[in-house]
Symmetry: C3
Subunit: 352 residues, 3 copies
């Protein structure tokens, strides 16, 4: 499921048009091998075998990026590139992402880790990566035109900083933002606490995913990058119904779900049969005095919500955005209104 | 105002096309008589004359559904059916609703009540009812295709569960959700506390209503069911200005207003002249440490907000969604811009 | 930068079409001279030289309205009128505003002040001003058709009330609301605390601005007033990128930013490199037990959010609405999708 591709040898099917020639052989020798993902499945949690221990998360229809330790620094290699994402069985979209998929892989580190991320740009335009929510030196913030020049096509930029505070974050482009995010570029970042934290409980299940939106015409496979409102595909980690994996938990498990939003509208995330608390945001864990129970939490654009509950009701419970069109995807648009047409001949029959 | 219709006899004007023949006479004998509502007015609170006592709510331009006690179980009968709703004087819309109106009637019970709800489907398609926010057995959650097969046209399904936690809830279809909610199907549910609750204050006035949206072309009377964003009618309990009743309270009354949102966008509900607290959600009462004063609370889709304030300023105070188009309804769209046209000949005259 | 215009003498360039003839000479003699603003720059804070002292705010690309003391009453004069606003260098729009600009000037008073505001209507239609969030007598609430008749063109209406509670407020029309707000009419209001307040900290920097939206076709200069969703200009105090001034603060300054929203959608305001607390709303200061850290706060329509943080990271940090189209403005719409077009000939060159 995870392939290690020799960067110098060039071409996987997905990135056939890209050339690594712009990066010198000397520089490449210093880079960690990029790890690519070829499948859209929910991968098992990546239990750390180097660095400090932590309890890994499960990324919905996604995966965590392996790293290498280099003199005490955790080194990751992100490759920004065109990808083909299976959004649901039978439907593949031509997106942009990282390391073979959209979204990019989840990055998991531990509070206090020094982190070095090599970002190789295999797009046809400038790119940079913003580490949304992090405390870091200004020059590492990844805003093209403000804190750095854009990374040219074919080049690699190195970000390095200490993961100073534990929390749930995301990363996304800050160059040609509208287009690059419309194309599916973003990923999750989790900084696990280095020790027991009074506001971060241990849980039995820990899931994460990003909300995203696309406008892909039926019969087409490329998102329209200028759409502001009339999206027709509302994704969870670039998957749509019925391609989204279930979040499977045990009876009486303590469950944490981390949800970030990089669309153009609020998404009210609703859980059936249970109440939950919002225990953290991308700003940090929420103090206990601020918490109240909800069955629907509104996740605004550019926000992260970390919800927790006890799974103490047996059964299959729906979990969805409560905007009804967002559960219908492309099935729900442009169909003529048939309400008022005589349905009486259907009465006697049960369509079930 | 409330009529009891013999279900076997067939046809009120509203449901003339529907036939009850699919329900056997034996089964019908066991059902409580459905109670229908023929008027869009705000009905007086339904003071309970059976079951445990509680302080009833007032449903804005709506009503509470009577029940019968059957061996200690509260039995309600909801009929899902096409309705004609007067949205404002002079404007009637062909919607779908329950028991003669859209929204359906408010259901009021007491914490710990065992509740049995018969849902008869008189629509031309499958239906099921989700009891949003409730703790209940998985099979009673009302999600077609997940927790039950859809209720076929002409059939009755029986939901039964204990109202385990006090709070402000709603009910709505979870079959062909986009269409059925676009047509006006939903209702309020209140579970009153069985005893004095530390986070649920006694109030002098207790109102509830749902926010809803329709896209009905001028000259037409049927909602376009595929509209995702460009609605032209923003309703409170399927009424629009100037058809919405005022919320009349006494000077220095303690007032509670419960507002739920089943549209496709956030509605920031704004009260003039007073500050209020959000004292509860569909997740439960909010702890006191979490409460701060607002004059505008944003109610997200699928959310419930329960606000409370002391009416200590005399006068008529506006109370509205702060999105300015939502107070204009169909008057506000498609009119050409006249700004820049010479208005000077109007200057000398007062249009008032 | 601030000009005092003799009201009787008639005409500045901006208001050439308006006549003050409808106001009698006797009445005018009692009015404070209106103060107009001709520039879109961020003006220095207005340090009070009459009335009680306070720490003034800085209005982003705006200014604070001077007043006169009259027997212990603070008197302001707002003139509602067509204005030409430079939204960015090289782009001027024909808006409606107050006293020469859109938004209108910030009004700053002290808790307990008796305030008298003369509102002169130089528009071609009825007008009234609502003092959003204030405690005041019902007749001063400014809702045309409910608490007062609209102010006719050419006439002046006098509002008077005591600023009873400290806080961050706004003012905006409540007559033909949709049109007048679409044209740019609104302003900020701050009531400073009269004494040290346990929930209002002293800060080193205190900024304020309103979020607004316009639909102005390229090549045009007048907003389309009926647009509900598809705006193409997302402004901060009627300025757009790159015309928005930076918020300059010192290292380790305590910073407060007050943001109000008068558009038609939520704006998630995101700060890079720091976490902040929401310390107040238009409902009042938030109790400390309710505060949690965020990097993105969602400001709903008709809401005010007052955020505070310690500027303890050096550098230039981005601060923006996180909806990516809202940072692109008119550049972002209607461009055909070029994704999939061969960009390979760009690969070898760096566009930077």
């Amino acid at each position: 499921m995870v392939s290690r591709r020799n960067f110098l040898s060039g071409a996987g099917a997905i990135t056939a048009a890209a050339s690594a020639a712009a990066v010198s052989k000397v520089a490449m020798a210093a880079l960690p091998e990029p790890v690519l993902q070829t499948r859209p499945d929910t991968m098992p949690p990546l239990v750390p075998n180097t660095g400090r221990p932590y309890n890994p998360v499960v990324t919905l229809n996604g995966w965590t990026l392996p790293w290498r330790m280099n003199n005490g620094v955790k080194e990751f290699h992100l490759v920004a590139e065109p990808v083909v994402r299976e959004m649901a069985p039978g439907f593949k979209a031509h997106l942009w992402g990282y390391n073979g998929q959209s979204p990019g892989p989840t990055i998991e580190v531990v509070e206090g880790d020094r982190v070095r991320i090599f970002v190789t740009n295999k797009l046809g335009e400038l790119h940079s990566v913003h580490w949304h929510g992090q405390r870091l030196p200004n020059g590492m913030d990844g805003v093209t035109g403000l804190t750095q020049p854009g990374i040219p096509p074919g080049k690699t930029f190195v970000y390095e900083f200490v993961a100073r505070r534990p929390g749930t974050f995301m990363y996304h482009p800050h160059a040609d933002e509208m287009v690059q995010m419309a194309m599916g570029m973003y990923g999750f970042w989790i900084t696990h606490p280095k020790a027991k934290h009074p506001l971060i409980d241990e849980v039995d299940r820990d899931f994460c995913f990003l909300l995203n939106a696309f406008d892909i015409e039926p019969g087409s496979y490329t998102p329209k990058v200028m759409t502001m409102l009339d999206f027709n595909l509302w994704g969870w980690n670039s998957r749509i119904f019925p391609g989204i994996d279930p979040l499977v938990v045990g009876f009486k498990d303590k469950v944490r779900i981390r949800v970030g939003n990089l669309t153009m509208t609020n998404h009210p995330i609703h859980l059936h049969g249970h109440e939950f608390l919002v225990t953290g945001t991308d700003g940090g864990p929420t103090p206990k005095s601020t918490r109240w129970y909800e069955v629907t939490t509104d996740v605004a654009v550019g926000q992260m919500r970390q919800i927790e509950f006890l799974a103490d009701e047996e059964g299959d419970w729906a979990f969805h955005c409560h905007k009804s069109h967002h559960t219908m995807n492309a099935m729900g648009h442009g169909v003529p209104t048939m309400i008022g047409v005589d349905h009486s001949r259907w009465r006697g029959r049960s369509p079930t």
